[in-house]
């Protein structure tokens, strides 16, 4: 029974724990609350890391199934635990894929921009940003996606990734340097 007072602030961790208790007691459908609560930021993370909506959806699905099967092992914050499952799923996928290395030097796509002052085509920038992100080392891509796409603070990132704010700042700075070096050839 839900005893929450309407309008009262509920600690998200406590709310998660209530759902988990219900699921472990046999209420499978209660798990959908956790899926709806956390799917969007996790989908954005998987999409940013893999660059493929199909792969991101598969990783998300596998991660939620894994979370369901290991739900009794949650210690501490469920959202952080779930994030690590998704992040590890992305890293495993990146390790296993035989990706063709994208080199901007080999890009023979003609530029559609006649002059530097011409407005840039947004869809072109999207494609170029995707390819530039995929050329980054996974740790740099992860840091950039978490900071710029997911809009997380360095402190939150450090909490989720189990590293220091200084190390993450360095990764984000290096990711920006690499992205700018790749993109400014075309957009400067």
């Amino acid at each position: 029974m839900n005893t929450t007072v309407p309008g009262a602030a509920v600690d998200p961790s406590e709310a998660d724990q209530q759902v988990i208790t219900g699921v472990l007691a046999g209420d499978r459908d209660a798990f959908s609350a956790l899926i709806h609560r956390y799917s969007d930021p996790l989908y954005r993370h998987a999409l940013g890391m893999t660059g493929s909506p199909d792969v991101a959806e598969d990783i998300l699905q596998q991660s939620f199934i894994k979370a369901y099967n290991h739900l009794a092992e949650v210690r501490g914050r469920f959202d952080a635990w779930l994030f690590r499952i998704v992040a590890n799923g992305c890293k495993d996928w990146l390790k296993n894929i035989r990706r063709t290395h994208v080199s901007y030097d080999e890009d023979d796509q003609p530029s559609t921009y006649a002059t530097p002052d011409e407005d840039l085509d947004r869809s072109q920038l999207r494609d170029d940003l995707d390819r530039a992100l995929l050329s980054l080392a996974p740790s740099l891509r992860e840091a950039f996606v978490m900071k710029h796409v997911e809009g997380r603070s360095y402190e939150e990132m450090a909490d989720l990734l189990g590293t220091t704010v200084g190390a993450l700042k360095m990764r984000v700075h290096r990711a920006r340097e690499a992205l700018q070096a790749l993109l400014e050839e075309k957009y400067a």
Binding site: R28, Q61, K66, K95, R122, T163, R176
Partner: protein, 142 residues
């Protein structure tokens, strides 16, 4: 459990780890991405980095380099668009349909962690048994 869900760098295939930027690090050196080498005046400049981290104003960054700021404004517009993306609704349904129909496995507790419940009569019997055992042992040791 076959996999380590808490592993910070993926649950398996450690040997297949891709080299980080700048080549494969030795065992004793931290990942290249984490080494705190001072930023050179390259791309983007330190003030632009500070602006992107919210530690400096756009005007200050723009005074240093208009091109970098313009480029990052375009990139930021794209990343902000991506920040608004949501999981396609059919995917949510598909995930829920793929969740096993049996109850989520409950972690088996080790015997020393399990709680013990005794009725009053069972406790009296257990105490009497222990007392009798103590008497027998004491008698034998005399």
């Amino acid at each position: 459990m076959a996999e380590n869900l808490y592993h910070p760098d993926g649950g398996s295939d450690e040997g297949l780890r891709r080299p980080d930027v700048g080549g494969t690090p030795s065992r004793n050196t931290p990942p290249m991405a984490d080494r705190e080498i001072p930023l050179e005046g390259g791309h983007p400049a330190l003030l632009v980095q500070q602006w992107l981290d919210g530690e400096a104003t756009e005007a200050a960054a723009r005074r240093l380099d208009t091109h970098d700021v313009d480029l990052w404004q375009r990139i930021n517009a794209e990343t902000e668009r991506r920040r608004r993306m949501v999981t396609p609704a059919p995917v949510l349904d598909r995930i829920m349909a793929a969740i096993p129909h049996q109850t989520a496995p409950v972690e088996p507790l080790a015997w020393w962690k399990r709680s013990v419940s005794l009725s009053a009569s069972a406790a009296v019997v257990a105490a009497a048994g222990l007392l009798a055992l103590g008497v027998v042992v004491g008698t034998l040791l005399r």
